[in-house]
């Protein structure tokens, strides 16, 4: 396709406009969070990230929540998905539908309706911010399911498991030592997406009065705007780093697959 000079200029201008729209707010966050009141630069707001006790405990709480969610998601999803492929293939559509359902039921709706369930949870396990992990697992299901399903589709789970079983392996061994090592990229992808989601979660935490990272950032915004903006930017950069790592994992896998063809 011939690209005229005019065409290329227009294209360039439009791309620059898009770039400005998406990157200016990011730059603005950086600028805003490093201002001092005399018009100079300071790292005060950023050092607050590590010093303000409310903020640091919220950071830790969110990180722990992310970890709990990832573990919960893996324990719930991986055996189930492998089981479906191996023994109950007819249930695939049901499981898929259920995993994609959280996309249609907004988090806001869930938080409105979960009070009685959570009073139960509080009674059984105690009233702690970490109980949010239970509902967070549900929130990450659609994304985790898709990542793991894509990975499972690249290996022939049925054949692998039949081979393992014919050599004497039990179902537990099949899952943990045959299937899981081969879907590493999918599991990592699901884990990263879950972490990003949990770190950015605000709706449920705020309406259940727990102080996770985003809730604290929002609260802080009223008094310490610069610190809030710094924390927001930090969260975003963390998510970007995660995604970058993820794309390296993905590329490694496709290189491996490409070589074996």
């Amino acid at each position: 396709m011939r690209q005229t000079v005019l065409g290329r200029t227009v294209r360039g201008i439009v791309l620059v406009l898009f770039g400005l729209f998406f990157f200016f707010p990011l730059y603005a966050m950086l600028d805003f969070s490093t201002r001092d009141f005399q018009g100079g630069r300071t790292g005060e707001a950023w050092s607050q990230l590590l010093q303000d006790p409310t903020l640091t405990s919220a950071i830790i709480a969110s990180l722990v929540l992310a970890l709990l969610t990832v573990v919960g998601m893996l324990v719930l999803l991986v055996p189930t998905m492998v089981w479906v492929r191996l023994r109950v293939p007819k249930a695939k559509r049901l499981v898929e539908f259920l995993c994609l359902l959280p996309l249609t039921i907004p988090a806001l709706v869930i938080v409105v309706g979960m009070r009685n369930v959570y009073s139960w949870v509080g009674y059984l396990v105690g009233d702690s911010i970490y109980t949010l992990a239970f509902v967070y697992v549900v929130l990450v299901l659609p994304f985790a399911y898709r990542a793991i399903d894509n990975s499972l589709s690249t290996i022939d789970v049925v054949t692998l498991s039949e081979a393992a079983r014919s050599l004497g392996a039990g179902w537990g061994t099949v899952i943990t030592r045959v299937v899981v090592p081969n879907i590493g990229p999918g599991l990592l992808s699901a884990a990263f997406v879950s972490v990003a989601l949990v770190l950015g979660e605000y709706t449920i935490a705020s309406l259940t009065n727990y102080e996770n990272l985003q809730v604290v950032i929002a609260l802080l915004g009223k008094s310490e705007a610069r610190t809030s903006v710094a924390a927001s930017l930090a969260t975003l950069m963390f998510a970007m780093v995660l995604l970058l790592l993820l794309s390296y994992v993905g590329r490694g896998r496709s290189v491996r697959e490409g070589k074996s063809q």
Partner: protein, 276 residues
């Protein structure tokens, strides 16, 4: 029985997803534990209706703007010279920005266009223009602008596969039969892309309608949209003062989003047949 192996999963989902949903649906029809249509009636009252129409407006506006601009960006990516680096960069960035919502996004825009935002001060000092005004950022117009920030990347993620599903053979076949590029677009490409485009727009609509965190962080006074009305109902600030109202409003949300998602699924089926 092998299907017993699914019990943990089904059980978990029932407790943490299905039961809350059913609670909402049932609770919408109850007052103090007894069946009542009072809450449903309130949905049609002026406060709720006003919020609903604003939500619809917000969702429709951001869906259309996001769809058109997102499709444009997709077009630019698809037509790029075959350096896949550019395409991969756009896709990765879109992946991050589509999830980038909530509080973080709100603060990004406050840092840009807030009273002492970077752009505000820039325009104030160079062009003597006050872009902050009376704080439009914290109302509906502000929400439209901010939502667009994650709607465009979402559109790219959802629509780019469809655009790339346009097989080059169709273009070449059309050209060799005598079509001008314009005729190819009008009679072949656009009809083929229409279901995917409409479906993606619907997805953007549902996404915008269900979004809460960004609005909650930006808007601290008033309940211009449905999700913020739910916040008020849950934190018992509003005139009506009934927590049961939250159930009814949540039911309203479920209905709207479900209808839109069903339409999306139907359009998706046609697209996947054509643009596999």
């Amino acid at each position: 029985m092998p299907s017993l192996g699914l019990l943990p999963f089904l059980g978990y989902l029932t407790v943490f997803l299905i039961v809350p949903t059913i609670t909402v649906i049932v609770g919408a029809f109850q007052v103090d534990g007894r069946f009542s249509l009072v809450n449903i009636k309130t949905l049609f009252g002026s406060t709720a209706m006003h919020a609903l129409s604003n939500s619809m407006l917000l969702s429709a506006a951001t869906a259309v703007i996001g769809a058109v601009l997102g499709a444009l960006l997709c077009y630019l990516v698809v037509n790029a010279p075959p350096t896949s680096l550019f395409r991969r960069a756009v896709l990765s960035i879109s992946g991050v920005l589509a999830q980038f919502g909530g509080v973080t996004l709100a603060f990004a825009f406050i840092a840009t266009l807030g009273f002492s935002g970077v752009l505000t001060e820039l325009l104030r000092s160079t062009l003597n223009v006050d872009v902050f005004g009376s704080g439009w950022l914290f109302g509906l117009p502000g929400l439209i602008l901010v939502y667009t920030y994650f709607q465009i990347p979402l559109m790219v993620i959802v629509f780019l596969p469809a655009l790339e599903g346009l097989k080059p053979q169709w273009r070449e076949a059309a050209l060799s039969i005598g079509a001008t590029p314009r005729q190819y677009w009008l009679q072949v490409a656009i009809p083929l892309l229409r279901p995917a485009f409409l479906g993606a727009t619907l997805l953007l609509f549902a996404n915008s309608f269900a979004a809460y965190a960004t609005a909650a962080a930006l808007v601290s006074q008033g309940q211009p949209i449905t999700v913020l009305l739910i916040r008020a109902a849950l934190t018992s600030e509003i005139v009506l003062g009934r927590a049961d109202l939250a159930f009814a409003l949540a039911l309203e949300m479920i209905v709207v989003v479900a209808v839109v998602m069903v339409a999306y699924a139907l359009l998706l089926r046609r697209t996947s047949r054509w643009l596999r």
